[in-house]
Structure formats: structure tokens, C-alpha cells
């Protein structure tokens, strides 16, 4: 509960972060920046968890636990994704997502 800041304002920030992430995920061509956009999406969701917990059910820790899990999972996911990107770079000498299209019809 931050004095002078309402739930709606916090949700606005998290929504903004989420859609900036989505925009980046869809438009950026570099795989690393796509990963960064993914982090924005995840963090937008994490802010929502914390905000709802703090404003609606202040006595209960469930939302905070979810957020902690989310951070851990995001860290693991990034490690994995980076490994894939590095391997991809070694193989085809590029990190441009448009060139990674072998899995099609």
C-alpha cells in the first residue's frame, strides 16, 4: 500500500509494460531483444500479482510467493533461451528471427 498511489495507477503501469513487451516481441527481429521483450511481459504480470495481493488481501502472502516463483522460473527460462540462441548462432551465424523458419510446412 503506497500512500497517494491507487491500484488503478499501478495496473496501468503493468498493462503498459505488458503491451510494450508484446509489441517488442512481435516487431523486433533480434532474438536477444525478443527475449528482453519477453522479460517485460513476465514482469508486467508479476507487478499485477504483487499489486493485487497488497491492495485486496493485505494479510496473505500468496501473491508474493507467486511472484518469487515467477522470478525463479524467468531466470531459468532465460538461461535456457540464451543457450538456444547461442547454439543457433553457432550453427547459422545469425540471431535474426526471420532466418529461423525451417519448421514449416
Amino acid at each position: 500500500m503506497i500512500p497517494g498511489v491507487s491500484l488503478i495507477e499501478i495496473l496501468a503501469v503493468s498493462t503498459l509494460m505488458f503491451f510494450i513487451g508484446v509489441y517488442g516481441f512481435v516487431t523486433r527481429k533480434n532474438l536477444i531483444t525478443i527475449l528482453m521483450s519477453l522479460e517485460l511481459i513476465l514482469n508486467g504480470a508479476a507487478i499485477n500479482f504483487v499489486a493485487f495481493n497488497k491492495y485486496l488481501y493485505p494479510g496473505e502472502p500468496a501473491g508474493q510467493f507467486f511472484t518469487l516463483f515467477l522470478i525463479a522460473v524467468a531466470a531459468a527460462e532465460v538461461a535456457l533461451a540464451i543457450a538456444i540462441v547461442i547454439n543457433l548462432y553457432r550453427r547459422i551465424k545469425t540471431v535474426d528471427v526471420d532466418n529461423v523458419d525451417t519448421l514449416k510446412y
Binding site: V22, F25, V26, T27, I34, V97, D98, V100, D101, T102, L103, K104, Y105
Partner: protein
């Protein structure tokens, strides 16, 4: 029940021999396969004779010869009321058939060791013979209609395999297919008859069906369809199956062609055992036929009489030695059917039944002998055509003697076997229907005429230009001939009426002296006519044929029955049913399937570009979808 448990081996042993020789036919020496097959059948011969001795040596109880079921197992259980059993049923006719099959089959197995020597596929031949013996034993020992149908088809298959034994000859392949298709067509009627009978009576079991006081057939007798009781329809349809297997007119066309198979096979399957299965079937269900009180038995009698006459006329004009014998077989089986058809149930009335079974027994012996003798002749001169034979009595003394005995037996000359059985058939026919008696008497004379025509043309007359001097067959071939000749000569003295009667009670067999004199007189006349015409070469037979030119040509071409069948199948079945069905299949059934496949391919080709491999496109459409769904839910929640 006890004491007959070994009978199971009569059926199982040939099957095991079939598996052994069939599976190893590529790896063992042919001679060994032949010896294994012969050894197996000789053991079943011993077991069959043991069964017969044990069965007939115990005196029958007051109620007549018993029906024993030493083995019975549930084979297919559909539900609580419907189950198909496999078992072994011993009663006078099945025990008699055991003896017939095992004796003829053993003789044929031994004979084939010489006749088929050096043929390609010798082991295969013995494997098929064992399969046939297994099926035939299973057929005669069947406890119920379903089991008999099962083995009925199995003998059909083994017959098909053996007719087509020389599968590199197109005529043999065609004959095998013809035999299979014609009998299969008849078996369709058989199957419908079985289903009708079992539906209305609620049982497949022979003991239940044949119980004269039982209620099993009352239901079928009371329901009617198109003016006749369902029971009559079922029995006529079952007889259709029997007529197909026994080559009764007009389903006889496969039997003469079946002579394409090896000659011992003709002796075993197409003379002595399988073709009498139809007679056996009617005899097996005889109480039902008798109690049906409808035209079923009259149909049996008239089919038999017409076939007997028709086949005898054709046999007079044929030139192929095996075809004469084939038509003679048809004629004699017609005789057996006729006897069953005129039979009643009680002691004196049941004479036809006894006579039919007696004739089946004696016919198996002398007809097998005739075929095996013909095989020895063919073996010696390498031809089937009588025109290329003559004067063979000097070269083949043993075959000649055995053949003469068989000819006398089939012509019904006392004291040979055929005389006694034929006399009983004639007596039964006279009591029942003078018209049938007249036909039977005429056929008896014609039988003597065509058999001795064959005999004189082959063994008398002038020598022909043979490629090499004909010589007597080896001992494995003439030994069975002698044994069968002895049986043909003496087995008429068996008091058959003591053992085999319609109501199971022993009845005395007696000779009707007037009929005996008439029949043998007619036979002797036939023989004398044949002697006058064929003993010395002359042009008298040709002159007679000339003076009867139309009738002769008609009979020589087998009354054009084959041509009629061909015309009907080609013009009616093919053009009317098969071709439209094929068109429908090709264009409507296949067409709709192909159409569905074509549409699927086209649609897939049109939309496959959506799967581009571009992850960001997928993500965009996913997000758009999620947004659209969210908008939809929000709109609904607002309402």
C-alpha cells in the same frame, strides 16, 4: 460312452499328419512324406475298424442301436442359449462311414505311392490327402449342423486343392475353380437352411433334431412361408447343399471336370467319399425329412431319379475313360438319393434308407476300384481316351481281373456287391412309386451297358499303336486293387438291415426274387448288348449313333448344360448384376472416397502457407486471438 475315447484320434491324427507333412514338405524327402501319410491313415483304419467292431459287437438295446457321444466340447459360445459344439457322434451310419472312408482312403494312400511316384509336389499331395481325410472324418462324426457345415467346407477346400493339383495346367485350374464355385453356391442354400432350421427349432444338435417325439421341430413345422412350412423350406435348402456336393442335376456340372485331378484323388474324393456327403447329410437328418410331411422327400427322390437317368445317358456316349466313370458316379449317387427319397420310417417302410446306405457302402468299394483300375490303365498307356486303348487284357492281367469284378458289381450281377444293394433300392422304389421304379430299372440296364462298353473297349478289341508295351503296375498299385476287388465281391453278403435302419431297430434283409430276376435279367441284357457291339471292332456302334444322330449329339455334348450355365452367367449374372455392381463400385463408392481425398488435398494445399515458420507471425495471431476472446468475454459480462 466309455471305451470310445480313442475315436478322437481318428480325427486328430490325419490333421497332425497334414501339419507335419505340409509344413515340412520342402525339407523332407518326398518318399518319407508319403510313408508318414500312409502310416497315419493306416492307424486310423485300424482305429475305425476297432470302433466298428466294438460298436456292432455289443447287442443293441430294445430301443435300437444307440447314439453315443464320446467327446463333446463347446467350441464357440455366443451366449447362454447359442453355442456351437465340436464333438464325435457314433451311430450306425457314422460308424459305417468311418469304415468306408478309412478303407478307401488307405487304399488310395498306398496306391498313390506307386501312381504319383516321381511327380513334383509328391509331399504336397500327401499333405492334401491327409487334410481331406481329416475333414471327411470330422464331417461324418459331426454332432451338430454347424460342425457338419464347417467340415463340409473343409472337404470342399481339399477337393479344390487336389483337383487343382497340377496347377500349371490351365484346364485343371479352371476345373478346380468351377468345382469350388458351384459347390460353394449350393452351400449358400445349405447355410440358409441351417439358419432357418436352427432358428425355428432352437438347436443345431442332431440328437435333439432327430428325436421323433421331440418338440424341437414342431415350431418349424407350424410356421409357414409361401404355401409350405418353414421346415420344408429349410430341408429343401439343406438338400440343395447336399445336391451340390453330391453332383445332383442341375448342380452336377463340376464333377466331370473334377477328373482333371490325379486319378487316385478321383477315386477317393469324387467317387467314394466326398460326393456321397450329400447322401449322408440327408440320411443324417432323415427323421426330420420324414417328419416334415411335406414335399422335401419327394424332391430328394425325383432329383435322384432324374440325375440317375440323365447321367447314365451321358455316360453311354463319352469317350474319356474317367468321364464315363464320373457320370456313372453321378448316376449311382442319384440311385442313393432316390432310395432315401422313397423311404419311410418304420421297419418295412424304412427299406429305402437301409438300401441307400448299403448302396453307398458297396458303391464306395467298387467305384474306388474302378477308378484305381482306370488309373492303372492310364498309367500303362498314358492316355485317358478309350479310342487309344484296346486289347489290354493281355498286358494288364491283374488290373483286368479286378476291373471285371468291379464292372460285374456295378452292373448288379449276383453274387457281387452291387446286386444286393441295387435289389433293395428297386424293391423300395417299387413299394413307393412305380414311375421311379421304372426309371431305376432302366438305369440299371444302362449301367450294365455303359460299364461293359468301357470294359470291352479298353480290355478287348484290337491292340493299338502303343509308344511302348503296356506293363502291369507295381505291387503297391495292384495290391489295393485286389483287396478292393475282394471287398466288392463279398461285401454284398453283409446283413445290412441288421445294422443300419431308419428307426435303428434291426430288421431282416430279404431278397425279393421277382425284382432280383428282373434286375439281373436287364443287366445281363445290357452286358450282352455291350458284348455284341464292342467286343470285336465293328462299325455297328457308329451306325447306331448315326441313326440317333440328334439324340446322340445331345448326349455326347452333355445336353449342353455347361453351355446353358455359361450363357446364363454371361448374359444374366455378368451383364445384369456383376457389371452394374462393378460400375457402382468403381464410380460411386470409389468415386466418393476419391472425391473426399481430392477435396482434402486441395484445401490443404491452399491453406498450408499459414504455417510459415515465422514465430512472430504465430505470436501476433495468438495475441490477436487472445484480445478478441477477451473483448468477447467482457462484452458478455457487461450484458
Amino acid at each position: 460312452m466309455e471305451g470310445y475315447s480313442y475315436t478322437i484320434w481318428i480325427v486328430l491324427l490325419p490333421f497332425l499328419v497334414f501339419l507335419l507333412t505340409g509344413l515340412s514338405s520342402m525339407y523332407i524327402r518326398p518318399r518319407l512324406a508319403g510313408l508318414i501319410g500312409t502310416g497315419g491313415i493306416l492307424i486310423t483304419l485300424l482305429l475305425s475298424l476297432l470302433t466298428a467292431a466294438q460298436y456292432f459287437s455289443t447287442a443293441p438295446p430294445e430301443s435300437g442301436w444307440p447314439t453315443l457321444i464320446p467327446f463333446d466340447a463347446t467350441w464357440l459360445k455366443f451366449n447362454d442359449t447359442l453355442a456351437v459344439h465340436m464333438g464325435i457322434l457314433l451311430d450306425p451310419i457314422s460308424v459305417m462311414m468311418l469304415v468306408v472312408i478309412s478303407v478307401v482312403s488307405s487304399m488310395v494312400h498306398i496306391y498313390s505311392l506307386g501312381y504319383m511316384k516321381g511327380e513334383a509336389g509328391f509331399a504336397r499331395y500327401y499333405a492334401f490327402l491327409s487334410l481331406f481325410s481329416f475333414s471327411m472324418y470330422g464331417l461324418v462324426l459331426a454332432t451338430n449342423l454347424f460342425q457338419i457345415y464347417f467340415f463340409w467346407e473343409l472337404v470342399g477346400v481339399s477337393s479344390y486343392l487336389l483337383i487343382g493339383f497340377y496347377y500349371d495346367r490351365p484346364s485343371a485350374v479352371a476345373a478346380a475353380k468351377k468345382a469350388f464355385i458351384v459347390t460353394r453356391f449350393a452351400d449358400f442354400g445349405f447355410l440358409v437352411g441351417i439358419l432357418l432350421l436352427s432358428w425355428y427349432s432352437g438347436t443345431f444338435d442332431f440328437v435333439m433334431l432327430n428325436n421323433p417325439d421331440g418338440a424341437a421341430i414342431a415350431g418349424a413345422a407350424s410356421a409357414t412361408f409361401m404355401g409350405a412350412s418353414v421346415l420344408t423350406w429349410a430341408l429343401v435348402l439343406i438338400f440343395m447343399g447336399g445336391a451340390g456336393k453330391s453332383a445332383m442335376f442341375p448342380l452336377h456340372i463340376w464333377l466331370p471336370d473334377a477328373m482333371e485331378g490325379p486319378t487316385p484323388v478321383s477315386a477317393l474324393i469324387h467317387a467314394a467319399t466326398m460326393v456321397v456327403a450329400g447322401v449322408y447329410l440327408v440320411a443324417r437328418l432323415f427323421p426330420v425329412y420324414h417328419l416334415s410331411d411335406g414335399p422335401a422327400l419327394d424332391i430328394v427322390a425325383w432329383t435322384g431319379a432324374i440325375t440317375a437317368l440323365f447321367a447314365a445317358v451321358i455316360a453311354l456316349t463319352q469317350d474319356d475313360i474317367k468321364r464315363v466313370l464320373a457320370y456313372s458316379t453321378m448316376s449311382q449317387i442319384g440311385y442313393m438319393m432316390l432310395a432315401l427319397g422313397v423311404s419311410g420310417y418304420g421297419a418295412e417302410e424304412g427299406l429305402g434308407y437301409t438300401a441307400s446306405m448299403f448302396h453307398l457302402f458297396t458303391h464306395a468299394m467298387f467305384k474306388a476300384l474302378l477308378f484305381l483300375g482306370a488309373g492303372a490303365v492310364i498309367h500303362a498307356v498314358h492316355s485317358n481316351v478309350m479310342g487309344e486303348m484296346g486289347g489290354l487284357r493281355r498286358y494288364l492281367p491283374i488290373t483286368h481281373g479286378a476291373f471285371l469284378v468291379a464292372c460285374l458289381a456295378i452292373a448288379g450281377i449276383p453274387p457281387f456287391a452291387g446286386f444286393f444293394s441295387k435289389d433293395e433300392i428297386l424293391a423300395a422304389a417299387l413299394h413307393h412309386n412305380p414311375a421311379i421304379y421304372g426309371i431305376a430299372l432302366l438305369v440299371a440296364g444302362m449301367t450294365a451297358l455303359y460299364m461293359f462298353r468301357l470294359y470291352f473297349r479298353v480290355f478287348w478289341g484290337e491292340d493299338r499303336q502303343y509308344h511302348h508295351t503296356p506293363h502291369e503296375a507295381p505291387a503297391v498299385m495292384w495290391a489295393p486293387l485286389i483287396l478292393l476287388a475282394v471287398l466288392s465281391a463279398v461285401c454284398g453278403f453283409i446283413p445290412f438291415g441288421q445294422y443300419v435302419t431308419a428307426d435303428r431297430l434291426p430288421a431282416g434283409s430279404h431278397l425279393d426274387i421277382t425284382i432280383a430276376l428282373t434286375a439281373s435279367g436287364i443287366s445281363v441284357a445290357g452286358i450282352l448288348a455291350a458284348m455284341a457291339l464292342y467286343r470285336k471292332p465293328s462299325d455297328r456302334p457308329a451306325q447306331i449313333a448315326e441313326s440317333l444322330s440328334g439324340l446322340y449329339r445331345l448326349a455326347h455334348r452333355k445336353f449342353y448344360i455347361d453351355e446353358i450355365y455359361l450363357a446364363v452367367t454371361k448374359n444374366v449374372l455378368f451383364k445384369g448384376i456383376a457389371w452394374p455392381a462393378a460400375w457402382f463400385d468403381r464410380h460411386v463408392v470409389d468415386g466418393s472416397m476419391n472425391g473426399i481425398a481430392w477435396v482434402t488435398t486441395r484445401v490443404a494445399r491452399a491453406i498450408k502457407g499459414i504455417q510459415s515458420g515465422q514465430v512472430q507471425q504465430y505470436a501476433l495471431s495468438f495475441v490477436m486471438g487472445a484480445v478478441a476472446l477477451a473483448a468477447l468475454f467482457i462484452y458478455w459480462l457487461k450484458r
